[in-house]
């Protein structure tokens, strides 16, 4: 069969000359993707079945590594598609002029999901699924430790959850960044950071990979995780004793696909995008191992009971009007602040928050204004952020954190490492002082 096909192709190319040479190379499709094999093999099989004779190569890279790979190989590109979640990764590639514009043919896909546009307004990358962040938990763990089920971000700040929560860092995962930013926008700069620090004070760990969070919840290393929806939904569908909920402050963002500039197999790449957005492709997203929210509202007809539908349930992802420009203006600063204040000082932060929680517990039913004042001071110290919202979005300040210099003439004063060291000094001292004050308050009660 295959041999005859090859023979035929060879024979045909002799007759048709140059034009078929292009088609002969169309027999392959190289996709650079950050998705796990569950997702990639499902789509690979379905696509190869629909387009016999085409072999799809799924090249698995972490999103950041994928971007790096495309940048480094641009001069001699062999990849056709980039397929990943974080929109900002596509923004970087677009900025480097490494993507190809493409106009989809599929009809019936709305403009927006939640408050977010599904497709890149400039026409470079297309959303194929939506994802939002939420809370997942291990039911056995909560039962064994007698913990209530959390529903909102604020719930996670409660003392009962101390040492039971896990999340990834925004600098490590684009979607975690989005969650952090969503809460900062939803609650405002000061209060947003205060919420994150109170949650982080309850954390068991900050994982290096975003998958480390569902993995930890699934195996019961910690009970509660802040995760992207499909991690929770697919873990549940795979049989783990876990569940997932969207808090009211959350954002839905599209996961995307784009054709790489100078793609060797452009036609096939376009076919793949059309397939992904077709009814057939969208239905595959509801596979128990994948469990992503389709962008085509029709696809939800086949969804399992209780499956979230953002096109019907307006409460999902509408709690915050997400401001993409604001997020972009302070992207690296937020990452850096989170790492300095939380990731790298987690032990100090945990100690301080625990001391405050203990003091507050002791204060219950006691009337002691002096102790109350000390606790309030301790809280202020923990919650203090080295810079305000205006400074965080300040362009000149941000350029210190941007690694690519725009022009040689842009004058940048200060270095990231230098500034982080100043922040770190302040944060470390604050946490230590807060712990001391809280302990003092407790001893007074």
């Amino acid at each position: 069969m295959l041999k005859r096909k090859i023979l035929f192709t060879v024979a045909a190319s002799v007759f048709l000359g140059m034009s078929t040479l292009v088609q002969a190379t169309e027999g392959k499709l190289v996709v650079v993707t950050s998705y796990p094999p569950d997702t990639t093999t499902t789509f690979k099989k379905a696509f190869e079945k629909k387009y016999p004779g085409i072999k799809v190569e799924m090249l698995k890279k972490k999103t950041t590594a994928g971007v790096k790979y495309l940048q480094e190989t641009a001069g001699n590109n062999t990849s056709d598609l980039f397929w990943a979640s974080a929109p900002d990764a596509f923004e970087i590639l677009k900025g480097d002029d490494l993507l190809q514009k493409y106009q989809t043919k599929v009809k019936g896909i709305p403009e927006k999901v939640g408050a977010f546009p599904i497709n890149d307004p400039d026409g470079y990358y297309k959303g194929f699924a939506a994802s939002g962040y939420g809370i997942m938990w291990n039911t056995r763990y909560l039962k064994a430790k007698k913990l209530p089920v959390p529903h909102e971000w604020e719930d996670l700040t409660k003392a009962v959850y101390h040492n039971h929560v896990g999340m990834s860092a925004p600098s490590r995962s684009g979607t975690t960044h989005l969650t952090v930013e969503t809460v900062l926008q939803g609650k405002g700069w000061e209060e947003g950071w205060a919420t994150w620090k109170e949650i982080a004070g309850n954390m068991k760990t900050i994982t290096e990979r975003s998958f480390g969070v569902p993995d930890g919840v699934n195996s019961g290393q910690f009970g509660i995780g802040i995760v992207i929806d499909f991690f929770g939904l697919s873990s549940k569908a795979s049989g783990f004793p876990v569940d997932f909920v969207y808090p009211s402050v959350t954002t839905l963002v599209p996961a995307n696909i784009a054709i790489v500039k100078n793609a060797p197999h452009r036609e096939t790449a376009a076919d793949f995008i059309e397939f992904l957005l077709s009814d057939e492709g969208q239905a595959l997203l509801l596979d128990p191992k994948i469990m992503r929210l389709p962008v085509n509202p029709k696809a939800y007809a086949k969804a399992p009971a209780n499956f979230p539908n953002p096109f019907k349930d307006n409460s999902i992802g509408s709690g915050v009007k997400f401001d993409l420009a604001l997020s972009k203006s302070r992207y690296n600063v937020v990452n850096s602040l989170f790492d300095v204040m939380i990731t790298y000082r987690l032990d100090d932060l945990r100690t301080a928050v625990k001391a405050i929680q203990d003091a507050e517990a002791a204060l219950q039913g006691n009337n002691n204004p002096a102790a109350q004042k000390l606790i309030a001071q301790a809280k202020d110290l923990v919650n203090a952020v080295p810079i305000d919202a205006a400074k965080a979005s300040d362009e000149a300040f941000n350029s210190i954190f941007k690694k690519k210099r725009k022009k040689a003439s842009t004058k940048v004063t200060g270095r990231q490492a230098e500034i982080e060291q100043q922040w770190d000094e302040m944060i470390k001292a604050n946490y230590a002082k807060a712990t001391q004050l809280a302990n003092k308050a407790k001893s007074m009660l």
Partner: protein
């Protein structure tokens, strides 16, 4: 001395290889460390930032502490295994040595997953302890967890090098000591261990350097405040051009070289070579009844501990759902069925890549060892330093360096970039694993007395004939140890390959396991693939042990016959 055209040529060739595949790609990446982030001018300001930052100081201290403690713990694990199996008649010595070696052939990230399931705060052991005795032990908390996992993972470096060294010690020395009345601990402390020092130091230095530079384990255990994770986190999150990540890389390289230099200094001025190779002298001793039981119990306990990652992995690969419980809920073969189809390609690739890389490593390492310790070539020590420095180059940095250097270079006849050709993966593995083979070969050569070579040359043998007929056969134990270490560790390498695999059909096992382990339903399948890897590489190791044992016995037998005839 005679003219050394051969060695000079070989030396230049090796220097060229190291330059092309280690120095240039790495410099391509780390020159950023010396650039002012704002102006791009050359500067040392980034280094002063490093030393002023309390976070980096803390990371430096933690890395040092973890590496040193891991050497201590690894020594405690490795010493009894090496000593008992090489000095006493011990049933199953080959099996024990192989089992003791197996921890190396598991990708570190897989090992840490299994260890968390068993020893984590809510792992099997602690759940059982909590239920029955009401307390838990924080095995895996913070730096303890890193030390625990690292020493279990890397102690085979000490085991393998120490065993080779113990087998090489002239047993007539021990015999003399015994005749003079030394026995037990005293014999070991004063005679055996000091004579095996080069092997021990080689192994301990490897453990130290490996742990000092290792990335995977701290990351999986979510320990950030160490140097390698800091470098990685900064490069991969802030951006490839962030100077601090490379500053840390430079510091890792420099400090690793410093540690290596210290270990050489420790051996300096002492002569460890012996004229007679082990096996010829005294026979292996017998243990008395009580001692035997104690020794077996100790070894069994150690094996149970070091094999716990594998026990965890086995359970994971056969279990259905394993969540917050001492054991999986039920057992199934589904995971194996799932990976069966894709496993064959991964296995072939892995054996091909690791086999080629380890062969190149042994050839290069033998040549470097010979040039450094047996010739007077100018700058010869630098071959050793540079080759060893690759130990300190994070895999990611090497991977990016290759992409940067070789992407625009098309392979003749194939017409595709060299950076996306599978051979580049072999090259990366060769470079990354060269230090292992090198330390083993250097230790082996140090134990060969120069007098033997001089004797051969006095009898009229040419230099190359002496090399092939005298030096290489005497070094063979160390060379095989080097091959096995390089092969086994290359087959589970991930950090550089993850950057360099450009198509699915080129992917090795570790890559496949990593892929599977990234999804909830793929954990069991990834574990199954991991088990397949362990079994295959384990069998390979076991058979090479058997080959060594047999040739050893054969030689002893021949010698005895020869002695009887005369």
């Amino acid at each position: 001395m005679t003219k050394q055209r051969g060695p000079v040529f070989a030396g230049l060739l090796i220097a060229l290889i190291l330059l092309a595949f280690l120095v240039i790609p790495v410099v391509q990446v780390i020159y950023v460390a010396f650039q002012d982030p704002a102006s791009g001018a050359l500067t040392l300001v980034n280094f002063s930032d490093f030393f002023r930052s309390s976070l980096f100081q803390e990371s430096f201290f933690n890395s040092f502490y973890v590496a040193a403690m891991s050497v201590v713990v690894a020594t405690i694990i490795a010493l009894p295994l090496a000593y008992f199996t090489s000095r006493f008649n011990f049933a199953g010595a080959a099996i024990i040595q192989t089992l003791g070696f197996i921890p190396l052939i598991m990708p570190p990230f897989v090992g840490a997953v299994a260890m968390l399931l068993l020893f984590g705060e809510n792992g099997s052991v602690n759940l059982l302890l909590d239920e029955h005795l009401g307390f838990t032990i924080p095995f895996m908390e913070g730096l303890n967890g890193v030390i625990f996992v690292q020493s279990i993972h890397y102690f085979p470096f000490i085991l393998i090098n120490l065993s080779a060294a113990l087998n090489n010690v002239d047993r007539s020395m021990e015999e003399s000591a015994q005749n003079l009345g030394a026995s037990g601990m005293r014999l070991f402390r004063r005679i055996v261990f000091p004579l095996a020092m080069p092997g021990y130091v080689a192994g301990a230095a490897l453990v130290f350097l490996k742990v000092f530079d290792d990335l995977g384990t701290p990351l999986l255990l979510n320990v950030n405040t160490m140097l390698a994770p800091q470098a990685y986190l900064r490069i991969s999150s802030i951006g490839i051009s962030d100077p601090m990540g490379y500053v840390i890389s430079v510091i890792l390289v420099v400090f690793s070289l410093f540690a290596l230099w210290t270990s050489m200094l420790a051996l300096k001025g002492k002569d460890y070579s012996t004229l007679q190779k082990g096996g010829g002298g005294m026979l292996k001793r017998e243990l008395r009844g009580g001692q035997k039981i104690a020794a077996y119990a100790l070894i069994l306990l150690i094996l149970l501990l070091v094999l716990s990652p594998h026990i965890g992995l086995t359970l994971l690969s056969f279990g259905t759902v394993w969540s917050y419980s001492p054991l999986p809920d039920a057992y199934t073969l589904d995971h194996y069925r799932m990976v069966f189809g894709s496993a064959r390609e991964y296995i072939t690739n892995t054996l091909l890549y690791a086999g080629l890389a380890a062969s190149f490593d042994v050839i290069l390492a033998t040549a470097i060892a010979y040039i450094v310790y047996r010739t007077g070539m100018k700058g010869r020590k630098w071959l050793d330093y540079i080759a060893t420095a690759s130990l300190a180059v994070p895999g990611v940095v090497l991977g990016i360096g290759y992409l940067r250097t070789y992407n625009d270079f098309n392979v003749p006849f194939l017409d595709k970039p060299m950076a996306s050709w599978w051979v580049i993966i072999v090259v990366a593995l060769t470079i990354r694993r060269l230090p292992y083979a090198l330390r083993a070969c250097v230790a082996a050569l140090q134990q060969v007395s120069v007098m033997l070579e001089e004797a051969a040359q006095n009898l009229g043998a040419t230099r190359s004939r002496t090399l092939w007929r005298v030096v290489v056969p005497l070094m063979s134990g160390g060379m095989i140890a080097g091959f096995v270490t390089s092969f086994a560790t290359a087959s589970v390498e991930l950090s550089a390959t993850i950057m360099l695999v450009s198509q699915e059909s080129d992917a090795p096992l570790a890559f496949g396991i990593y892929e599977f382990m990234q999804s909830a339903s793929g954990r069991g399948a990834g574990a199954a693939l991991g088990m397949i890897a362990v079994v295959i590489v384990g069998l390979g190791t076991y058979f090479s042990h058997r080959v060594i044992e047999r040739s050893h016995k054969l030689r002893t037998a021949e010698r005895q016959i020869a002695e009887e005839v005369t």
